[in-house]
C-alpha cells in the first residue's frame, strides 16, 4: 500500500541500476553533501559546456553516493533529467523537484518538467525522507553554483552540511 506509493517501480529500478554513477573527468566543479541525520553522503561533479549561443549546458554529471534507495534513485534520475539541459533549464527542474518533495504531498507535480521524477511525489508524505531525496540534487545545485562562479577553476569540496 503506502510502501509501493513511495517505492515506485521506477525508483527501485534506478536504485538497482543507477544511471551515470561513478566519478569522471573532466569536470568543472564538485560538491560533497552529507545528510547529518543518517550519515549518507554524495560526491557529485558537473561538467559544463557552451552551446552554439554561448549558453552554459550540462555536459556531464558524475557521482559517488552512499545512501538509501531514495537518495540513490533520486540522484540517478537527476542525471537523466538535466544532462543536456541548459543550466538555466536545469535550475527550473531542480526548483520544481524541491517544491514537490517539500510539499508534504500537497503539490501536484508537473510531469512535463519533472518527467519520471514525479515518482518521488510519494516521498513528500514522509518528512524524514525528504532530505534523502534531495541529497544529490542539493549537491548538483551547489556544484553548478561553483562551476558558474569559477568556470575553469579547480575542483573544490563543498562544505558538507
Amino acid at each position: 500500500m503506502r510502501l509501493s506509493q513511495m517505492y515506485q517501480e521506477i525508483i527501485l529500478d534506478h536504485y538497482r541500476n543507477p544511471h551515470g554513477a561513478g566519478l569522471r573527468e573532466p569536470f568543472d566543479a564538485e560538491s560533497f553533501q552529507i545528510n547529518p541525520t543518517c550519515g549518507d553522503e554524495v560526491t557529485l561533479r558537473v561538467a559544463l559546456k557552451r552551446d552554439s549561443t554561448g549558453e552554459p549546458v550540462v555536459a556531464d554529471i558524475s557521482y559517488y553516493a552512499l545512501g538509501c534507495s531514495i537518495s540513490q534513485a533520486a540522484t540517478s534520475m537527476l542525471t537523466d533529467l538535466v544532462v543536456g539541459c541548459t543550466v538555466a533549464d536545469s535550475m527550473h527542474i531542480v526548483g520544481a523537484f524541491k517544491h514537490m518533495v517539500q510539499g508534504r504531498g500537497a503539490v501536484e507535480p508537473d510531469e512535463d518538467v519533472l518527467g519520471d521524477a514525479v515518482a518521488f511525489a510519494g516521498v513528500a508524505k514522509y518528512p524524514a525522507r525528504v532530505k534523502c531525496a534531495l541529497l544529490g540534487w542539493m549537491a548538483y545545485q551547489d556544484a553548478v553554483a561553483r562551476a558558474v562562479e569559477a568556470p575553469a577553476g579547480p575542483s573544490q569540496n563543498g562544505a558538507g552540511r
Partner: protein, 422 residues
C-alpha cells in the same frame, strides 16, 4: 523475583495502545531514543501543577513552600534511586547539559575565573589529556573536543574491537589524563562497559571519571556510589519520565569545589556590584527557576520503576534482548553490530540487512507499525569504525513484549522480500 505482568503494565501507557500508519498497532522499539510515560507520571505532573505550582526556592508563601518540598522530595527520591545523596544530584535539562556543565566548569577553572584552589585542582592545559571512547554518543564526545580546543588539552580514546567491546589492551590513560569519560552502556552496541576496571585505571593516575549512564539507569539497578565514579549523567525522558529534565550526579566533595557553569539567580550566596559568591551545590549549578513539574514527574517515574523493581526490569529486557539476538541471527543476511552474546550486554540491538539500506529497512518496519531508529544514532565515529553509514536499531523498555520482537523480525524479512534480497 515476581514475574512481570506486561499486559497489565502496558495499560499504564496510553500511547502504547494507539495505532499508526493506517491502523497498524504500534510496536514501539525506540525507547533508547525516548521512552513512553505511564499515567502515573502524567498524573503526578498534573497534580503538582493543579495544586502546588510556584517558583521553588523563592518566596515564603504556602505554595512556594509546597513546590519547594515537592522539588526537593523529587531530588531525594531520584538520588536514592541511583545510590546517591540528595546534595549530589543536580537537575539539568538533559544528560547533554549535564556533560556540558562539567566541561564548562572545568573550562572555567582553566581560565582562572574562580578561586585559586579550584583553578589549580580542575584546570586543564596543553599538558593534559581527556580520555573518551570510540563508542560514545556525540553528547559525551563533542563537549570534550570543545573543552580540549578551549584549553589546549588533548583528546584520546579507547578503540572498539570488532566484537563491539572496548579495546582495553590499547590503553590511552596516562599520567597526563585528567578525566576519563565513557558510557556505561552503549546506545548502539548494547555493550556494558567495565566501569570498575576503568575507574581503577583512572584512579591510578589521579584522573576524574564521568559516566554516561543514559542507557543504564533506565534499564538496570545502578548504584553510582558503589561504582565509584565522580560524575554521572542521565536523562528523564529515557526512563519513563518527562523530557526537559536530566540529572548530573557529582560526588559532594567535587561539586563543592567546582566553579559554576550557568550563573544568575538562585545559585548565589552573596551578590554585590563588585562580584558575587555562590551557593553550595546543588543550588550552585541550578541557575534560574528550574523545571519543577518535570522533577516531580521524574520522581514519579522512579517510584514507578521501583514498584516494578529494577532487577525485574533488567530481567525482562534481558529476555527481549536475547530473543531479538537469537531470532535476528536466524535471518540470513542480517548482521548484528555489537556483542552477540548476552554477557555484559543490554538491550540495544543494532543491525545491518545485507543489500537493504537501514533507512529502507526502517521504512518497511514503519509501514508495519514498528518504530525503530535508523541512522548513526548520534554515534558517528562508532559507525565509521564499523565501516557503515547507518544501522537499524531496536531498543527495548520494560513495556515491550516478545510478540513485538517477532514483529521486528517479521518486518526485517518483509524488507528483504520487498527489496528482493530475501
Amino acid at each position: 523475583m515476581s514475574p512481570l505482568d506486561v499486559a497489565k503494565l502496558r495499560a499504564d501507557f496510553p500511547l502504547l495502545s494507539r495505532t499508526v500508519r493506517d491502523n497498524r498497532p504500534l510496536v514501539y522499539l525506540d525507547s533508547g531514543a525516548t521512552s513512553q510515560r505511564p499515567r502515573q507520571v502524567l498524573d503526578a505532573e498534573r497534580a503538582f501543577l493543579e495544586q502546588h505550582n510556584a517558583a521553588v526556592h523563592r518566596g515564603a508563601h504556602q505554595l512556594a513552600e509546597e513546590a519547594t518540598d515537592a522539588y526537593e522530595s523529587a531530588r531525594a527520591r531520584i538520588a536514592a534511586f541511583v545510590g546517591a545523596r540528595p546534595n549530589e544530584v543536580v537537575f539539568t535539562k538533559n544528560a547533554t547539559e549535564g556533560i556540558n556543565l562539567v566541561a564548562y566548569s572545568l573550562g572555567n577553572a582553566s581560565i582562572g575565573a574562580v578561586d585559586a584552589y579550584a583553578a589549580a585542582r580542575f584546570a586543564l592545559g596543553p599538558d593534559d589529556e581527556i580520555v573518551v571512547t570510540e563508542m560514545e554518543h556525540h553528547a559525551n564526545l563533542v563537549p570534550w573536543q570543545e573543552l580540549c580546543r578551549r584549553t589546549g588539552a588533548t583528546l584520546r580514546w579507547f578503540g572498539v574491537t570488532s566484537a563491539g567491546r572496548l579495546d582495553l589492551d590499547d590503553d590511552p590513560i596516562s599520567e597526563h589524563t585528567k578525566l576519563v569519560a565513557f558510557s556505561h552502556q552503549s546506545n548502539v552496541l548494547g555493550t556494558v562497559n567495565p566501569v570498575k576496571e576503568l575507574v581503577a585505571r583512572a584512579r591510578a593516575v589521579g584522573a576524574l571519571v564521568l559516566l554516561d549512564a543514559c542507557q543504564s539507569v533506565p534499564h538496570s539497578p545502578v548504584d553510582l556510589a558503589e561504582l565509584g565514579v565522580d560524575f554521572a549523567v542521565f536523562s528523564g525522558h529515557k526512563m519513563l519520565g518527562p523530557s526537559g529534565i536530566g540529572v548530573l550526579y557529582g560526588r559532594a566533595e567535587l561539586l563543592a569545589a567546582m566553579p559554576p557553569f550557568l550563573t544568575g539567580g538562585s545559585m548565589i550566596e552573596l551578590v554585590r556590584m563588585e562580584g558575587s559568591t555562590y551557593a553550595p551545590p546543588p543550588q550552585r549549578f541550578e541557575a534560574g527557576v528550574p523545571m519543577t513539574s518535570q522533577a516531580v514527574g521524574l520522581a514519579a517515574a522512579v517510584d514507578y520503576l521501583n514498584s516494578i523493581g529494577m532487577a525485574t526490569v533488567a530481567e525482562h529486557e534481558r529476555e527481549l534482548t536475547e530473543a531479538a539476538l537469537v531470532r535476528l541471527a536466524d535471518v540470513p543476511g542480517v548482521r548484528i553490530v555489537g556483542p552477540t552474546e548476552l554477557v555484559s550486554r543490554g538491550g540495544a540491538v543494532s543491525f545491518l540487512v545485507e543489500g537493504v539500506h537501514a533507512h529502507d529497512v526502517g521504512q518497511v518496519l514503519d509501514d508495519r507499525g514498528v518504530a525503530v531508529r535508523v541512522g548513526h544514532h548520534c554515534a558517528w565515529p562508532l559507525h565509521r569504525r564499523f565501516g557503515v553509514a547507518a544501522t537499524v536499531r531496536a531498543t527495548f523498555a520494560v513495556y515491550n513484549t516478545l510478540h513485538e520482537v517477532d514483529a521486528l523480525v517479521d518486518g526485517v524479512r518483509a524488507a528483504q522480500t520487498f527489496f528482493g534480497v530475501g
